[in-house]
C-alpha cells in the first residue's frame, strides 16, 4: 500500500508531483492507524503553506492528528468533498481521499521527502 510513483514524509503524508504542482494526502498507513475518519480541516485556496509546518488536521472516532505540508507553496485547490465524506480518505487515501493541490515555490520539492523505498523502511522501524 505504498504506491511507487509518490513521495512521502516522515509524518505520513504523500505527494504526487504534477509539473510544478503537488497533490497531497495522507498515507494508507496513516488512515489505518487513525481508524474511521470523521472530520477534516484543510487550508483554503490561496493560503501559503510551508514544508514541515502544520496545514490542517484530521479527526477519527478515537483520535486526532495534524497534517503537515510536505512542500512550500500556495494552495490552488482543496478537496471540498472531504467535508461531508471524510471516509473517502479511509477508502481511497491515494485517490478520492486527496486533500490539497499546492503550486510549489522555492527549492526542489524532493528535498527532505522520502522515496517509496525509504518510506517502507520507516514503517518497518
Amino acid at each position: 500500500m505504498i504506491p511507487d510513483d509518490l513521495l512521502y514524509t516522515k509524518t505520513h503524508e504523500w505527494v504526487r508531483m504534477e509539473d510544478d504542482e503537488a497533490v497531497v494526502g495522507i498515507t494508507h498507513f496513516a488512515q489505518s492507524q487513525l481508524g474511521d475518519l470523521t472530520f477534516v480541516e484543510l487550508p483554503k485556496v490561496g493560503d501559503t503553506v510551508t514544508a514541515g509546518e502544520e496545514m490542517g488536521s484530521v479527526e477519527s472516532v478515537k483520535a486526532a492528528s495534524e497534517i503537515y505540508s510536505p512542500v512550500d507553496g500556495e494552495v490552488v485547490a482543496v478537496n471540498e468533498e472531504l467535508a461531508d465524506t471524510p471516509e473517502a480518505i479511509n477508502e481511497d487515501p491515494y485517490g478520492e481521499g486527496w486533500m490539497v493541490r499546492v503550486r510549489v515555490t522555492g527549492g526542489q520539492p524532493s528535498d527532505g521527502l522520502l522515496t517509496p523505498e525509504e518510506y517502507a523502511e520507516l514503517l518497518e522501524e
Binding site: G35, D36, T38, F39, E41, S57, E59, S60, V61, K62, A64, P86, E87, N90
Partner: protein, 361 residues
Amino acid sequence: MTDAALSTTPLTARHQALGAKMADFAGFLMPIQYAGIIAEHTHTRTRASLFDICHMGEFLIAGDAAKAELSRVLTHNLETLAPGRCRYGFLLNEGGGIIDDCILYCLAEDHYMLVVNGARVQVDREWIAARLHQAHFEDVSDDTGKLDLQGPASLEVLEALLGQSLRHIPYFGFAQLEWQGQPLLVSRTGYTGELGYELYCPADQAGPLWDALLVHEAVKPAGLGARDTLRLEMGLPLYGHDLDEVHTPAEAGYGGLLTSNADYIGKARALAVREKLVGLLLDGRRSARHGDAVLLDGVQVGVVTSGSFCPSLNGAAALAFIQADKAGAAAYAIRTARAELPAVPAELPFHKTGTARIKLT
C-alpha cells in the same frame, strides 16, 4: 503493542486471529475494533454485535445476611429486587462520591451477583469485603466469562442457539439456563441502547460460546470503540470518565434511582449537587474530548467527560460536568485543543430510537 503486564481474556487469541486492533483497557489487552468503529456501531444498531466483556468483574454474595449487609453498601433498593431481576446502582464512599457503578442480580433471596467495572475490581472487592460481616463474599471474576450480544437481531440469534423462547425475559430481567451442559445466565441488559443480552458463563465456555454465536449470519464481532460510541449516544456514563469518586449519583443524573430505605454508605451526601452531568450536541462533525473546557460567555463553567463523533447522530456529542447554577444555559462553547466549538444542551439519550426497551410479550 502487546504488553506482557496486561491481562488477557479467554478470547484474546480469537481477536488477534480476526485482525482486531488491540489496546489496554482496564489492565486487559482488549479488542478496540475489527472492521472499523463506524461499521461495528451501525451493525449493532441494525443487526447484532458480539462483544468480549470478560474484563468486567463478578462477585457473588450469599447467605441469610446478604440482603441486609448489601443494602448498607450499595444504593440499590434490595427490598424491591426480586429473584430473576437485576438493577443498576452505585457503590458510594462516605462523601456520596461514586466508587463504582454496578448491576446487582438477585439470583435467589439469599444469593446475589454484583457486576462491576474491570478497572475497579480490586478497589470494589476490598471495599465491599471489609464491610460484609456474615454474608459470604466471593470474587469470581477470573472464573466467569461475559459476552454481550447486542442489537435488534440478538433475540432470534440467542433463541436459535439455545433452542427455546427468551421473550419472557423482561428488560433488566434474566434467566439461569444451560448451554452444552454448562450454566449460562442470560440477562436482558446492555450498554448500547439496543435490544440485547449480557451472557455469563464459566470462563472456559467463553470461547465455544463466542464461536457458536459468530456462526450466525446476523452476528459480527464489535470492539470497545463501538461500545463507547454506542453508550455515548445513549448518554450512558463510563466510570473513570463521567463517574468518579468526587461526583454523586444525583450529579450524574441518577438521583431518581436512589429509592432504597436502607442506611447505605454515602446516603447523606448522595443527593448533593454542585455540578450536573449535561448532554451536549456539537455543531458539526468535530469532536470534543475528555478534559476539554466548557465555556459560558467566555468563562469556564465545566469540563467535558466524554466526547466523540456519534455515527447514528452523524455529528459529535459530549457529556460534561457543568456547575449546577450554570447548567441551564441555552448554549455553550467547548474549547478543544484546536478550536472553540459551539454546543447546545440536549435531552438524553441523544439517540432516540434504540430498541432496548421494546416489549416482547
